[in-house]
Amino acid sequence: MIFVFFLILLMFIAAISACIFRDLISAVIASCMVSLMAAILFYLLQAPDVAMAEAAIGAALVTAIFIIAIRRTKRYEE
């Protein structure tokens, strides 16, 4: 139970820091962390299917697509 609350706390911190970071790569990594924590939480809630989809799409593919998009545009938010 404490582990779950720790994960949720990490998720909150990562989500808020994704909004705050000026470096967009860092923001994308933070949002990737939100997805990873969500995947672990889904697994703990006995939904391994959703956890797999969240880890593969939310953490891997979406992060990669964002990073590719950032590489084409600007890295720092002004």
Partner: protein, 228 residues
């Protein structure tokens, strides 16, 4: 300042969602259909995984719609990105180091195998076509990131994608011709918990796995091509 306002606005949205969801009891069956699926799903469809029996048997038509949405998204992305000129500047890119290159080449077949396992065993273990396809696509992403210069033939992904979609629809139409309604599970169900069981579910899930995998790999291919 703008960020603080956006965080506050997001907090208000989250509060609204929490307040509206708090009234619904968690983990209690609100409808009768959920209990029916849990009780009867296994004997009616032959699939040990109840989620799969719902996704590919009871609600297979919805799954066809989902596949179509993904297909349209991939086609739209390809259409938008291919209007620009593709420039090839691969020479001035720095090649990856030997460790990275070898590591990616070593991990690639293992990830591919894992994805294939997930969608072939979709009716037995958690997971299925969508998850397996996403894992296969992430294997291709690894190749794009680690081994520069290697790429998937674009025509190949399109052919696989079209064939997989065709298999899904043809299986559905076969059900229509055998039993009178679309996507009927017309094959023998076999004994549960065996790989060759559950009628059309493994066939459809393998088709979905190939389709989702090739679509997502095609999306990555389009974006990487554009970003070079």
């Amino acid at each position: 300042m703008r960020k603080i306002i956006s965080i506050v606005l997001l907090g208000i949205v989250a509060l609204g969602i929490i307040l509206s969801l708090a009234r619904i009891p968690f983990g209690v069956s609100k409808t009768k259909v959920g209990g029916y699926y849990i009780d009867k799903g296994r004997e009616e469809t032959g699939a040990a995984n109840i989620v799969t029996s719902i996704v590919v048997n009871y609600r297979a038509f919805d799954t066809l719609g989902e596949i179509t949405v993904l297909f349209i998204a991939a086609v739209g992305l390809g259409a938008v990105l291919s209007t620009r000129k593709k420039h090839k500047r691969e020479q001035d890119l720095e090649p990856a180091s030997l460790v990275l290159y070898t590591g990616c080449r070593f991990l690639f077949p293992l990830i591919l195998l894992f994805g294939a396992y997930i969608f072939i065993h979709g009716h037995l273990t958690p997971g299925g076509g969508f998850q397996g396809g996403a894992i296969v696509a992430s294997a291709y992403l690894l190749i794009y990131l680690g081994c520069r210069g290697r790429r998937i033939p674009e025509a190949g992904t399109k052919v696989i994608e079209s064939l997989a979609g065709l298999v899904f629809v043809v299986v559905g139409l076969l059900g229509l011709s055998f039993g009178g309604y679309f996507l009927l599970n017309f094959l023998p169900k076999g004994t549960p918990n065996v790989l060759f069981s559950a009628g059309i579910i493994p066939i459809v899930y393998i088709a979905i796995g190939f389709k989702v995998g090739s679509e997502l790999a095609g999306i990555i291919d389009n974006l990487m091509e554009e970003s070079r």
